[in-house]
Amino acid sequence: MEVNEQLIRAITQAVVEQLHKNGAQPQTQAEMQQPSGTQELAGRTRMRPKHSYEGAARAAQGTDPKEIVIGVGAAFQTEINKTMGGIPLDEVLRNVKAGIEEEGMTSRVVKVLDTSDVCFMALQAAKLSGSGIGIGIQSKGTTVIHQKDLYPLSNLELFPQAPLMDLETYRKIGRNAARYVKGEKVTPIECTNDPMVRAKYQVKAALMHIVETEQLDPEKGMIEWEGR
């Protein structure tokens, strides 16, 4: 292509002049901190409307030494019906309970409304449970088996990668929890690990956790939740 050198020179000169005129002025602070949230999300402060637990029965302290309490998240089976991996929460609960029963123990489901942290949920369930063993299940599927006399952030078994969970694992969780109650020598469920889980799911996890956390109702504490 023919290039008109004179034209280029003229343009360059005009640009340089303009630059000089501007004197390479620094941007203002406001320009450097560009406003954000310009998209449709700006101004929105909730994911879902608040659920009312008016009149719900406060969960009672268990006394049966065979009992394992399952503490589910605030949005469990109300705002959220499937785990991050797409498993229906009804099925999750059914399998955990079945696992517990297979080992001859009994289960009771409560909904934890004062924390959405899975370790604290599980510990509270354990403290409520007649056996001292509890299971915490967040609505996104993250699960912990806890014992009432352990430190909150310690645990018997932790399943941090919700998208990798399947129903068989939930059943094994029920079974192992029951075996801890019986004082058996328990082999922990084998760990699974997907090193790309964060890339694929962490933003979704954050959104699901927001849905759960905004449903908290600390005044209510823990309530009986039969589950569906």
Binding site: G37, A42, D117, P152, P195, R198, Q202, V203, H209, T213
Partner: protein, 564 residues
């Protein structure tokens, strides 16, 4: 959004767009900015304006809030993290002017530390907003505490196999990591993991520091017993609500920090963008502003350093616009506050090799105290921190990048013979210690498998239930680092026993508690105090040269001209 998907359903697809849609990067999670929920990296419209008021030496107003309205973070920061004698002068300098000084090679690190010691968190966020990523890298090159950059490894595996931990620790140490961190799939394996890491690390290279990331009380106990030499996972958060949810306050973290320090253990805190979003309590503030608050708390609590750069919440930070810029930004804030910075890169966040490498370059090129915190020194399927940004299969790529750019990333090429040798020695040493201390059996076959293994897919199964009972028993019997030294010495591992004894001596000497300290192979401390970063432009600071450059050059797979 609905319209778009409908259009796609009926629209004839472009083969180019289809090819692009299949690219790995499009499996990553992205989200629009949403400040009300904290999905905003650099600046939220709800971030406060910088301000400070001091009456009788007490800060009575901080970033637009009166003292009576302070939450516990504000109060902690006001009382312990800002120099009131400097504040007036520092706050009078414009944020842009401070940003320019950070980049200006004629202004020393010391001068900047002095100015920054008197500014507030909101002002700090404003300063960082004035810098683009190249300027942030220039800032980091100057503000990093230690003269020579370093690197940290993750040493973990899916089976929590202590023999593999020891072998990978030995190989990692041989490859140049200055610190090694382990954690567990099953938390109760912690005593075995900590002990195996300690033994393996000292086989690979004397002086490597080790830690076991576990529940706080367990981790402290392992440290007190001399089974670890530093701690890193003292997490702090940018909002009061998230702190409370974790049953913590800045004060409790300061106490825990002192507990470690009193026993002569090196400690750094951990924080990073996105944690408040993930926990659903960001108070509508930007990730950068919240992280500034975390870093001020860290400084106020007297910690020498921080692990930050979004860390385990990087999927969230990387999902929003300018998230990766925010990450180097918060690393720089740590350095500006005079803290050691272990700059993350330790968590996978992208399916794209291109994107994950680009993210790491921001710390790799300027160099930080620890570029990774840590690098998976095992295949990522074995990384129990849910995957690191780089893993064992990237070792050669990383070594080549050091060689290409003449940059010191903290690693070095190794020979296969050396790798096999140190892995076997480490496995054998763990076998001997377990036997001497009456713990679960480690068989010869196991040591052999681990010696030649790439990851836990190549190793033998252990009896996890028996291991856990034995680990529990080990804690009940009060076994300490001294018992490990004794076991090694009496099993014929004299030199290794001496190395571990030397690591125990460090906690009495205490020099490695200084900012950004690591130990060389003679157990000599290199920190921001005795080897401070003195970069002031071309011709100054750390340059890769001499013996270290020769080491970096010697990658495997070079054409041998003599045999050509």
């Amino acid at each position: 959004m609905k319209d778009f998907s409908e259009k796609v359903d009926t629209m004839k697809r472009s083969k180019r767009i289809e090819a692009l849609d299949r690219r790995a990067v499009n499996k990553d999670g992205f989200i629009d900015e949403w400040p009300e929920m904290g999905f905003v990296a650099m600046h939220s419209p709800y971030d406060p304006e910088p301000s400070i008021k001091i009456e009788d030496g007490v800060i009575t107003e901080l970033d637009g809030k009166k003292r009576e309205d302070f939450d516990f973070l504000d109060q902690f920061i006001a009382d312990y993290a800002i120099r009131t004698d400097r504040a007036e002068a520092s706050m009078a300098v414009s944020s842009l002017e401070i940003a320019r000084k950070i980049v200006d090679i004629h202004v020393s690190r010391k001068e900047i530390l002095e100015i920054v010691s008197g500014i507030t968190p909101a002002k700090m966020a404003e300063v960082i907003n004035c810098l683009n990523v190249v300027e942030m890298m220039m800032g980091m090159q100057k503000m990093r505490a230690r003269k020579v950059p370093g690197n940290q490894a993750h040493i973990t595996n899916l089976k929590d196999d202590p023999v593999q931990i020891a072998a990978d620790a030995a190989e990692g140490a041989l490859r140049g990591f200055s610190e090694e961190e382990t954690t567990m799939g099953v938390a109760r394996y912690a005593p075995f993991s900590a002990m195996a890491l300690l033994i393996g690390s000292q086989v690979g290279r004397p002086g490597v520091l080790t830690q076991c990331s576990a529940e706080e009380a367990t981790e402290l106990e392992l440290g007190i017993r001399g089974l670890t030499t530093y701690a890193e996972t003292l997490s702090v958060y940018g909002t009061e609500k998230v702190f409370i949810d974790g049953d913590d306050t800045p004060y409790s973290k300061a106490f825990l920090n002192s507990a470690y320090a009193s026993r002569g253990l090196k400690v750094r805190f951990t924080s990073g963008a996105g944690s408040e979003v993930l926990m659903g309590s960001s108070e509508m503030k930007s990730m950068l502003y919240l992280e500034c608050r975390c870093l001020y708390v860290t400084k106020g609590a007297g910690s020498q350093g921080i692990q930050n750069g979004s860390v385990s919440c990087v999927g969230v930070a990387a999902g929003v616009p300018a998230g990766i810029r925010e990450i180097i930004g918060e690393n720089l804030v740590a350095a500006l506050l005079g803290l050691e910075c272990a700059s993350s890169n330790d968590q996978s966040f992208s399916n794209s090799d291109m994107r994950r490498t680009a993210r790491t370059m921001l710390q790799f090129m300027p160099g930080t105290d620890f570029i990774f915190s840590g690098y998976a020194a095992e295949p990522n399927y074995d990384n129990m921190f849910a995957g690191s940004n780089f893993d064992a299969e990237d070792f050669d790529d990383y070594n080549v990048m050091q060689r290409d750019m003449q940059v010191d990333g903290g690693l070095r090429p190794v020979t296969e013979e050396d790798v096999i040798r140190v892995r076997r020695t480490a496995g054998k040493a763990v076998q001997a210690v377990f036997k001497y201390l009456g713990l679960t059996e480690v068989t010869d076959e196991q040591v052999e498998a681990v010696t030649y293994a790439h990851g836990s897919k190549d190793t033998l199964k252990r009896d996890a239930a028996a291991d856990l009972m034995s680990a529990d028993d080990m804690m009940k019997r009060g076994i300490t680092g001294v018992d490990v030294v004794k076991a090694l010495a009496e099993s014929g591992y004299t030199e290794l026993a001496e190395n571990i004894l030397n690591m125990l001596k460090q906690r009495v000497i205490g020099d490695y508690m200084h900012t950004a300290a690591i130990l060389d192979e003679h157990f000599q401390v290199m920190s921001g105090v005795n080897t401070p970063n003195d970069y002031m432009g071309p011709g100054t600071g750390y340059r890769v040269s001499g013996k270290r450059w020769e080491e970096i050059k010697a990658i495997p797979h070079r054409i041998n001209v003599n045999e050509f």
